[in-house]
């Protein structure tokens, strides 16, 4: 299992180094093992350098930068071992318009091979999806589905 762990780590780190600059439009990201000699218990450190800034720990990142870094890590894992489907509940809430667009374009690319189901309030995300479901509670306390004409949002 150590062999497989080291192998998976290598591959995910490879992807992370590519996905992070794509989401941040520049900058660098890297994963490293806290204890390389003990693969059974080692932790994973994440370092991020947003474009034009100094290399820093996760604490100094802004709310949006943290969300984007977490998304990059999830997508990197997804690229190495794609799970059949991916469900995300309002992960775009802290993102500004530019980062939302980059997030959406990455999803569109991954959605060619996998299935994504995204819950959002963000109109920019609604505009790029393939299928849109509306949920409503016209009768208080009772959820129903509404067919949302995509043209309302496009």
């Amino acid at each position: 299992t150590c062999r497989r762990f080291a192998d998976a780590f290598e591959k995910i780190n490879e992807q992370f180094k590519k996905v992070l600059p794509r989401l941040f439009c520049g900058g660098k990201g890297e994963l490293c093992l806290t204890d390389e000699k003990n693969l059974l218990e080692t932790g994973i450190e994440v370092t991020v350098q947003p474009p034009g800034k100094k290399l820093q720990g996760l604490d100094l990142l802004s709310g949006g930068e943290k969300a984007l870094t977490a998304i990059a890590l999830i997508f990197s894992t997804f690229m190495v071992r794609p799970s059949p489907f991916c469900l995300m509940d309002e992960v775009d809430a802290p993102l500004d318009d530019a980062n939302t667009d980059r997030f959406n374009s990455l999803i569109k690319e991954l959605a060619k091979k996998s299935q994504f189901i995204i819950i959002t309030h963000n109109k920019r995300t609604m505009e790029v999806c393939d299928t849109l479901y509306g949920v409503t509670m016209e009768e208080s306390g009772v959820s129903k589905l509404v067919s949302v004409r995509l043209t309302d949002f496009k």
């Binding site: 998976a8 994440v46 071992r81 469900l87 509940d89 306390g141």
Partner: protein, 168 residues
């Protein structure tokens, strides 16, 4: 393997039966605050065998059964069915010949649970194994609940290894 269809009845705020079809690609669910969007994800996690009421935002598992509203009485059963479309050769061992697999979970007010795969009664463990074998557990990294996106970053380095292990 994709989620082809989801049918929910009596689960949380979905007292009347609803059915959602999800094609391949990017599907979006929208609606006002409190209308039941996150309840759809809870329904998916539940039918995949989620054992803990707390991670479905409830106190006891009974909290997932519709408990009434101004206009409706509480009901006695919650049921969710998930139909998976499986490509050639992707199905786990025992379902090799199926192009579709239907998973159903039911809970009655008296606490009794029923689980079905392709309408044949089974145990919760069978359902959990079915999803594990296809690389997808109810607690998988690929299901991100509301407000949870930063959890993987805020975790300690030792806890982050679970992400790598899942992919190993």
């Amino acid at each position: 393997m994709i989620i082809k269809q989801l049918e929910i009845v009596g689960f949380k705020s979905f007292v009347d039966k609803v059915s959602l079809q999800f094609p391949q690609g990017m599907n979006t669910i929208v609606g006002p605050n409190g209308c039941g969007k996150s309840n759809v994800f809870d329904a998916i996690r539940w039918v995949m065998g989620e054992p803990s009421a707390k991670s479905l935002r409830g106190g006891s598992m009974e909290d997932v059964i519709f408990k009434g509203s101004d206009t409706r009485k509480p009901i006695g059963m919650a049921e969710v069915s998930l139909i998976l479309a499986v490509e050639e050769g992707q199905a786990p061992e025992s379902y090799r010949n199926c192009s579709e697999i239907m998973v159903t979970r039911r809970l009655f007010r008296n606490g009794e649970s029923e689980y079905y795969i392709n309408k044949i009664r089974c145990r919760r463990l069978d359902i959990q194994e079915l999803f594990m074998d296809s690389g997808m557990g109810a607690k998988s990294y690929a299901i991100i609940g509301q407000g949870n996106i930063e959890a993987v970053l805020n975790a300690k380095p030792e806890e982050r290894r679970a992400l790598i292990e899942e992919a190993a």
